[in-house]
């Protein structure tokens, strides 16, 4: 029986002596991590045969508290490290856990090429729309017009859609969930782990301390409500007109082949 209780998951997967985490109050990473571990549990992965590869920044600590083989490398290179691990030891599950800056800015080249190769690694992308640990700078997913410490008057560039980028580059599994939609998140993590080929799971996760403060988005609760109200399930989105989807994030399993 898969474990579902938090206490059981803590015992099974966490290095409890490493806790508490470094994350700010209200951060979405902890909730997301819990849902991810429930996905691991549901997929029945072997903890001794699973390698987690972290990037840098707040999300670069998502594996630091976990009882797995973990590599936390240099900024932007998590996917390249993971590619080497997976190619040499194909029997291992290799899971990248990194942020929007790590994956789409400094590491963007590795991201698209890993998707193109369809290398059998799973990339869990925590998208909080900002560089949190360095104090709130714009990232490639910061929405146009949003504010940040390096765009105090509002960002005048367009954001990447990580899921569309991965799909166009050749990813064979693409899904999106949020720190609000935790059951969906666990499900897509489980499904990605049972899929063979490159998988992207984008997680929208709130950052009240940096993104929220700059953009007056409210506290964690209000930001979670934003995630609820600005997302549309993929099944529902298929029957909607493009104009009604403008500004919304489609969530669920978006690509699988």
């Amino acid at each position: 029986m898969p474990k579902t209780h938090t206490a059981d998951l803590l015992d099974q997967y966490f290095l409890k002596e490493r806790l508490p985490t470094i994350w700010c109050p209200g951060c979405g990473l902890g909730t997301a991590n819990g849902a991810i571990l429930r996905g691991f549990e549901a997929a029945g992965i072997d903890q001794d045969k699973t390698v987690l590869v972290n990037g840098i920044g707040c999300s670069g600590r998502t594996a630091a508290y976990l009882d797995f083989d973990v590599l936390k490398g240099t900024h932007g290179r998590a996917i390249a490290f993971a590619t080497g691990i997976k190619l040499y030891r194909p029997e291992l599950n290799v899971i990248v856990m990194a942020g929007d800056g790590d994956t789409l800015a400094i590491g963007g080249n590795h991201f698209i090429h890993a998707a193109r190769r369809n290398v059998d690694i799973k990339v869990i992308l925590f998208n909080n729309f900002i560089y949190g640990m360095t104090g709130g700078q714009v990232s490639p997913t910061t929405p146009a017009g949003a504010k940040a410490s390096t765009a105090p008057e509002g960002y005048n560039e367009r954001a990447f859609d990580a899921c569309k980028l991965a799909e166009a580059a050749g990813a064979s599994f693409v899904a999106r969930a949020t720190s609000y939609h935790v059951q969906l998140l666990s499900k897509v993590v489980r499904d990605a782990l049972t899929h063979t080929g490159f998988a992207l799971i984008e997680i929208l996760a709130q950052c009240p301390q940096q993104y929220g403060r700059w953009n007056k988005s409210g506290d964690a609760f209000e930001m979670l409500m934003w995630e609820k109200e600005n997302t549309v399930r993929v099944e529902q989105a298929r029957n909607m007109l493009p104009e009604n989807l403008a500004g919304k994030f489609v969530i669920g399993e978006l690509v699988r082949h």
């Binding site: 390698v51 936390k72 490398g73 490290f81 993971a82 080497g84 040499y88 030891r89």
Partner: protein
């Protein structure tokens, strides 16, 4: 024993595979591409993995990942590509991950002189990544030495758990010479020391502070569930970024590893130095010119000898010290504007004159240039 006519770059491939390299990630670049091509052809035949990555940053990252997963890994490039690899070379140092980087040197800066040899990257190899870190670099001057030093570089990386450079150049990499390849059983290979499978308190960074005892290295996927971290970390690999004494201890221990093993890392050839008045310090292709210069000088009755450094880092300072006490002058020919001559001078400390001889036009230093310097300038003072 098989005799083969090989390019330096081909000898590097033969040696790497014979020494157990089973992972290569790289990116095309002149004059190193033949190494990638050879690996693409030969690695799959022995069950190894070849991948052409999207850039050199990804290439060394993939090699480091494969190494942590248990592979002997090697990558090859030239100046522009090496510049891109530098950050992750520091990661290999702090994570104590064995990896060999072959730099087939060409002229710089930037894309410089792609098809011509140079020796401009010897200081980059030592200091190019940020932070204070230990490095080892070997410099072959022939196809045979390319074979021997490739094996030595791989053994050294595995033994020290540290990145190791092979500093070849466009001349050595592309020249062809007949060499005798050793039989596989003749090669002395170092295999990474792993913890026992039942080790209960495995600490991937627990080594002796003097650097002599190198920590054991487990593989990912063997049940140890260990962490590898780019930050300053404790013996278990967990970040210790607010622990200043821990940082001090780690940085010293990492650097001590090369110091503690310097004697077994430093390789030189001492040629006709016993009675020499003038010693040449040379390495790589410049050492070939220096060998010829010594021959001609001796025929002319001049007492000239050669200290050929096959190891550049750690610098063979004891050998320079030893001969400084005996000779009247040093000559240091290099295909750069004077890099290793600084190291020679640091040891010599003004006791005898040190003459640099430099060339940066992409052409080899010729023996007559060395002789001319000796006859017109050095002899009058020595």
């Amino acid at each position: 024993m098989t005799r083969k006519l090989l390019q330096g770059n081909e000898a590097c491939v033969e040696a790497a595979i014979a020494a157990g390299v089973r992972f290569f990630a790289g990116y095309p670049i002149t004059p190193a591409t033949e190494i990638a091509e050879g690996m693409a052809r030969d690695l799959p035949k022995v069950g190894g993995i070849f991948i052409q990555m999207e850039d050199e940053i990804g290439s060394i990252a993939a090699c480091i990942g494969a190494s942590v997963a248990g592979a002997k890994a090697l990558t090859a490039s030239s100046g522009p590509g090496i510049s891109l690899m530098l950050e992750n070379i520091g990661f290999a140092v702090i994570s104590e991950t064995p990896v060999v980087i072959v730099n087939v040197m060409r002229g710089g800066p930037s894309t410089g002189l792609p098809t011509f040899p140079a020796q401009m990257d010897v200081m980059q190899a030592r200091w190019g990544s940020h932070g204070d870190y230990p490095i080892v670099a070997f410099a072959p001057s022939s196809v045979r030495e390319t074979y021997e030093l490739t094996v030595k570089a791989i053994n050294t990386a595995e033994m020290l758990r540290n990145p190791v450079f092979l500093l070849s150049d466009a001349m050595v990499g592309h020249m062809r010479e007949a060499i005798s390849l050793p039989e596989p059983e003749e090669l002395e290979l170092f295999e990474r020391r792993r913890p026992e499978p039942d080790e209960v308190d495995f600490a991937p960074h627990r080594g002796s502070q003097d650097g002599f005892e190198i920590p054991l290295m487990a593989r990912f996927g063997d049940g140890f569930r260990f962490h590898v971290d780019s930050n300053v970390h404790d013996d278990y690999g967990f970040p210790a970024t607010e622990n200043n004494p821990m940082a001090d201890r780690l940085i010293h221990r990492l650097n001590n590893k090369v110091k503690a093993h310097a004697d077994e890392l430093i390789l030189v050839d001492e040629d006709q130095l016993e009675d020499a008045d003038i010693a040449i310090f040379a390495y790589g292709s410049s050492a070939r010119s220096a060998m010829e210069a010594v021959e001609i000088a001796r025929r002319r009755g001049l007492k000239v000898g050669l200290l050929k450094a096959k190891t550049l880092w750690p610098f063979p300072e004891n050998y320079v010290e030893k001969w400084t006490r005996r000779v009247k002058a040093w000559v240091v020919p290099e295909m750069n504007l004077g890099q290793m001559v600084r190291e020679v001078s640091l040891v010599v400390k003004g006791r005898v004159p040190v003459y640099p001889l430099n060339r940066v036009d992409g052409l080899l230093i010729e023996p007559h240039q060395i002789l001319s310097l000796i006859e017109t300038q050095v002899l009058s003072l020595a």
